[in-house]
Each structure stands twice: as C-alpha cells, then as structure tokens.
Symmetry: C2
Subunit: 212 residues, 2 copies
C-alpha cells in the first residue's frame, strides 16, 4: 500500500465516521423532539405574552394573525397605542377580513392627558372584552395592552377576569414592555424580546415598510 | 371653613397635582423620544437578526413581510427549515404576491443525512443570493438561516459577503437560534427572544392556526 493510498483511505474513513457521528447526533435530537411531541397532546386556547424591550413583539403578534387568517381562522386586533404613522400590516390584514379596533388617541406621551387617555383606553378595552366573549373569534391580538395596565388606565383585575373567562379554545396574544407579573403568571407561553442592539440608536430612522 | 370643605379642597388639589405630575413625566418621555427621532435621520437597508430560544422569531419575520406587502413593497422569503406541517402565513402572503422558496428537505433531524441536507441548503441559498442582488426586492426574509451556518451546510463567509454586497436600501431579516456572532456583528438591529415559559413543555400540543 502506498502512502498516498493509505492517506486517502484514512480520509475516507474519517469522512464516513463524521457522517455516522452526524447521523447519531441527529437521531438523538429527533428522539428528543419526538418524545416531547408525543407527550404534548392537550389542545386549548393559548395565552401568549410577548414582552421585553426588544424590537419584534407587535410584529410577531401580527405575524400570528397572518398565520391564523391563512388557515381561514377568524382573528381580531385591538391596538392600545396608535402611532400617527400608517400601518402596513393593517392594510393587508384588514383586507383579509381581520377586525381592527384602534385606540382613539395617539401615543400616551403625545397627549399627556391622563383623563383623556384613560377614557380612550377604556373604550378600546370594552371592544376587547366583547371579543374575549366571542367563541367564533379564534385569535385576539391585544397589541400594547401592557402599557394600559402599567399606567393604571385599565384595571389589572378586569383584564385577568376577561382572560380567564374567555372561550376555552380562543388564543390571545398580549404584547408590550414590562408585562404585569400576574398576566405572565396566567399565560401559557411567554417570550421576552431583549434588545441586543437597535439601528435607531445609531442614527438610523424608522422606515416605512420596515419599522411601521 | 368647615372641616368637610377643607378635606374636599385637599382632595381636589391632590388630584390636580397628580395630573400635573403625570403631564410633567409624560412631557419628559416625549422630549426624550422626540430628541432620539430628531437624531435618527439616516435611511438604509436594515439587517435585522431575531435570535434566541423563545417563541416568536419566525412569526415576527412573517409579520414584517405582511407589513412590507401592506405598503406595496416587494418581499421575498427563503425558508431554510421546512416542517411537514402546512404554513398559514404562506397561504396568505403568497396570495399577496410574496415570492417563497422553501428548502427541499424536512427538518434536518428528520433526514439525518448530512450530504443531502447540505445540497438542499445550498440550493435554497443560491435562491437567497439571487434575491440579495435584486434591487427591486425591498425585504428578504431568510427564515431559520442560522442553523444552516451552525451545521456548516452554508459557509459563513459566503453569507457575510452576500449580506454586505446587497443593494444598500434592501432590508434583510435573519431568524433562528444561536446566530453566529459575525452575523450579529454585521447586523443593525438584533433582538434576542428568550423563553420565559412555553405551553409545549406543559403538555400542550402545537396547534394549527396558532403554532403553524
């Protein structure tokens, strides 16, 4: 056997060993995933909370709405903080039959009027409560609701009661920073979106079609 | 002045003082936000990375696509891990004119064949490279790309080169766990989605219209 042949043979063995090891690793991953899937058999309406200071919380909520609608499910959105900007996702989703309720004031730091903001928040919340009783609505997105609770515009207890008494198969998504711990406690799934870095802090402006 | 009148007056003062303090706080918040907005004037294509182990990364990416499409922008999606499940967001977004490329194998832990997976990943990546040269595409979602780099199915350098040389106004979103640090370094905005809790771990199965 020449040195060259020997080396080639060795290289072949190594490659095939690597492929075997890869396969063994992947089988182990697959077994773990399969076992988890087999264990998870309950179906119920999920309360999902997307909180934290990073970018992507509301966008994820709207992505879920798009997914639900894509399956022919009925979805509704209540937006508790309305920017003065246009809203690209609303254009698409409302066109696809999604019911939208938008709180009647702008950002709460724009109006600086607690009484007016509380009234606007309550009007939006009443719409939310109606949706949370409506069995035909598969998914309710309560966008930026957390701030309304933080600012005491809407009572925490009233929110918890409506969430607990909703139809058992109805999914609800709540977005916003600093979600109250009692809502997190009640939730089935909670993701915290943390900012690692943000273009805005490097002088890049919010851009239509991407940021709003 | 009776004691009763005096008390009422005090209560009124306190309420009005509270409203004033609320207004002052909100003005300060508004000033901070306004100053940041004034400072952020650059427009450019953003590279957004959504990483971490929590739920909502891909969904957020699809929400961004819905937003872009809602503004009449052109968006395209390359999905690097394709489940065997239906995909609600695809139904809606493809109908709204979004170009989809889906990698030709299932989950990498389903196939357990490195060579086959590498080939499928490369075929999807070639489509991504085409999109990353196409100025008319405003937004490219590279869904679950991070795993392809982690598994060495696609060379990191090739990914970085394509991202750096893309049209300057093109936005790109990369999703997936454990994003390579060099991609994070290159990114403009990075959010890490952390799992606080997940229904799946409490025996609740993934549900059509919500989880997929």
């Amino acid at each position: 056997m020449t040195t060259e042949n020997h080396n080639t043979e060795q290289a072949d063995t190594t490659a095939s060993q690597k492929a075997e090891r890869h396969k063994a690793r992947q089988q182990k991953v697959k077994q773990g995933v399969d076992a988890k899937i087999a264990a998870a058999q309950e179906e119920k309406g999920i309360l999902l909370v997307l909180t934290g200071n990073g970018k992507g919380k509301s966008t994820s909520g709207f992505g879920s709405v798009a997914r639900a609608v894509g399956h022919g499910h009925k979805a509704a959105v209540v937006q508790f903080i309305k920017g003065t900007w246009a809203c690209g996702e609303r254009n698409l989703l409302e066109g696809a039959g999604v019911e939208f309720h938008v709180m009647g004031t702008g950002f709460t730091w724009e109006t600086q009027d607690k009484e007016k903001d509380t009234q606007a928040a309550m009007e939006a919340w009443v719409e939310a409560e109606k949706l949370l009783k409506e069995e035909s609505v598969n998914l309710v997105l309560l966008d930026e609701l957390t701030y309304m609770v933080s600012y005491h515009y809407i009572e925490l207890e009233r929110v918890l009661t409506a969430l607990k008494n909703r139809p058992p198969m109805q999914h609800v998504i709540i977005t916003g920073r600093a979600c109250h711990r009692d809502i997190i406690e009640l939730a089935d799934t909670v993701s915290e979106v943390q900012p690692v870095k943000h273009a805005f802090n490097n002088g890049i402006k919010a851009q239509l079609g991407f940021d709003y």
